[in-house]
Amino acid sequence: MPDRIQKPQPANPTPGGGGGGESPRAPRVEKPNTDELLKRMRKVDPDQAKRYRQRTGQ
């Protein structure tokens, strides 16, 4: 892992973030809880990809 580097100062530090969405939570550092992930996966609709259609992009 590369060492951490000094945090840069924002060029225009307006407080509040301004519409960037929900605040991120720092990930937990313990070993992944696979059971919880498997639960999340079981909620995925098996047919979701069948219904998914996009236009070609770039």
């Binding site: 951490r4 840069p8 519409g19 996966m41 259609r53």
Partner: protein, 506 residues
């Protein structure tokens, strides 16, 4: 480092119940739902020209997908104006967010450090997530956004990279030297895909390490939507075109893993810098039949990635990458600590991929996705061609922190980061401080209502009595940018910006 960089990411959009969905209308509505501070519908399209070819000519027209011709006719029936359909929003971080025909697209501002591109990419994801939330409110049919590159029907959309660099490196050398790098970079930059496709067609089930490798069928061309090339020849620097080249890279996957993005952009910058520093073409690896090898590597389920050099000698993708790594070590000797760290991370991931590919699942999208979904497949006793696997693949890319599978892994500490997570994520919508994006962003934030028009390389503002154009085509000196930011901060009116060295009254 003489290179600045950024990305343009097209997003897949649908609803939970997609019957009768108009993806263009959805994309427009999504972009227009943004509440992040910025300037809307002031993007100047008149100076864009994607027909200029780096090989020294201008093409008459671009290839279009067959479906697209019909779609264009449909779109012509819409009651919205061109600018309303595009709905460009230039954000205060200097980014661009708009509807690119049928996909919401977020373009980061120009960055000069790898931490910055991770911050800006993360900010874009946050803007998109906020938009989806806003559009879903008061609806029983949630918006779903996918940061991926395919619909598993052969319709691909891109995550382009841009590298703004001195024009001293000739196109002939650049376009030859980069081919084997792009063919093999997918072993760490690929996002993984449970399906094989070609343009407009799903071929069959099966895992491969890249989302995009199925869609490249030319070595070089200016096209981006059909018969896509390994090396895109678009010559549109958005800067002084006598001094600068914007190398427009269309072959990469959309990455969610911050480490994958770090490696993808970082290694590409280093290879380009080595070439700028004089790494000779005869020392650069050449791969036999690059288009075939690209797909072969992506679809190789042994993960040994055997291939051949142009001479016919057997080699592997890992060894080709090592040859580029060696060139960088020899020709980029003055790297600072931050860039040396990329070299170490690159070398480490190549070693890991050679010995135990899935040990990279703490850094790379493709291996993280494969490991997660394969574990699920076995637990649920699914066949390897079960369509559910493609739905799970989609779910990995879902931009939703509560439902997306990437975010599930992230939440549970499955990923390493090249910088601290807080450094990357707490930098909300501020531009990179040492590139011209800071000037653009500061003007947008402070004088947004006065912005008449903007592009990557200029801003036109109207004051009470005068119009002022800020010409950003040559604005790459960090000291000048720093001084200019002080002037902009102190300015009481648009007219006060006239003292900027790159301002002119129009």
């Amino acid at each position: 480092m003489d290179i600045q960089f950024g990305t343009e990411t097209e997003i897949g959009i649908t609803r939970e119940k997609p019957d009768g969905l108009d993806v263009v209308a959805e994309s427009i509505a999504l972009v227009r739902s943004a509440t992040a501070p910025g300037v809307r519908m002031r993007w100047d399209y008149s100076c864009e020209d994607p027909h200029c070819d780096a090989r020294g000519f201008r093409v008459k027209e671009l290839l279009q997908d067959i479906d697209e011709s019909n779609y264009f006719a449909q779109d012509a029936q819409r009651t919205l104006t061109f600018h309303e359909i595009k709905s460009d929003l230039v954000l205060r971080n200097g980014a661009r967010f708009y509807n690119d025909h049928a996909h919401p697209e977020y373009c980061t501002p120009e960055c000069s450090r790898l931490l910055e591109i991770l911050q800006q990419d993360y900010s874009g994801d946050s803007v998109l997530i906020a938009c989806a939330k806003a559009l879903t409110q008061n609806s029983d049919n949630p918006v779903l956004l996918y940061k991926n590159n395919t619909d598993f029907r052969g319709h691909s959309y891109g995550c382009h990279e841009n590298y703004l660099m001195p024009r001293t490196l000739t196109w002939d050398v650049l376009s030859q030297a980069i081919v084997a790098f792009f063919v093999t970079r997918q072993i760490y930059a690929g996002a993984g895909k449970f399906g094989w496709e070609e343009e407009d067609t799903f071929i069959k089930a099966g895992f491969q390490i890249s989302q995009r490798s199925d869609f490249f069928s030319e070595l070089q061309s200016v096209d981006t939507m059909q018969r896509r090339p390994l090396v895109n020849t678009r010559d549109e620097p958005h800067a002084n075109n006598e001094l600068y080249r914007r190398f427009h890279v269309i072959i990469g996957d959309s990455n969610l893993s911050l480490y994958s993005t770090y490696l993808k952009i970082g290694t590409t910058c280093l290879v380009l810098q080595a070439l700028l520093n004089g790494a000779p073409l005869e020392r650069v690896p050449k791969v036999s039949d690059p288009l075939h090898t690209l797909k072969m590597i992506s679809r190789d389920t042994s993960w040994k990635w055997y291939c051949r050099e142009a001479s016919g000698r057997p080699t592997t993708a890992v060894d080709i990458q090592r040859a580029y790594l060696q060139l960088v070590k020899e020709y980029c000797t003055g790297l600072d600590h931050d860039w040396k760290a990329v070299l170490d991370a690159w070398e480490q991931v190549l070693n890991d991929l050679e010995v135990d590919p899935l040990s990279s699942a703490d850094r790379l999208d493709w291996s993280a996705k494969y490991k997660l979904i394969e574990e699920f497949r076995q637990a649920e006793k699914l066949e390897t061609n079960d369509p559910w696997l493609r739905s799970l693949d989609l779910a990995y890319h879902l931009l939703d922190r509560q439902q997306g599978l990437f975010y599930g892994l992230l939440e549970h500490g499955a990923f390493k980061f090249p910088y601290s997570y807080d450094e990357i994520t707490c930098h909300s919508l501020c531009p990179p401080p040492s590139t011209r994006a800071a000037v653009r962003g500061r003007c947008i934030e402070k004088f947004g209502a006065a912005v008449n028009a903007t592009q990557w390389d200029y801003i036109l503002l109207h004051g009470a009595h005068k119009k002022i154009e800020l010409d950003l085509r040559n604005l790459f000196d960090p000291n000048l940018i720093k001084q200019s930011l002080k002037i902009i901060s102190a300015a009481q009116s648009v007219e006060d910006l006239a003292v900027l060295k790159f301002a002119k009254l129009v």
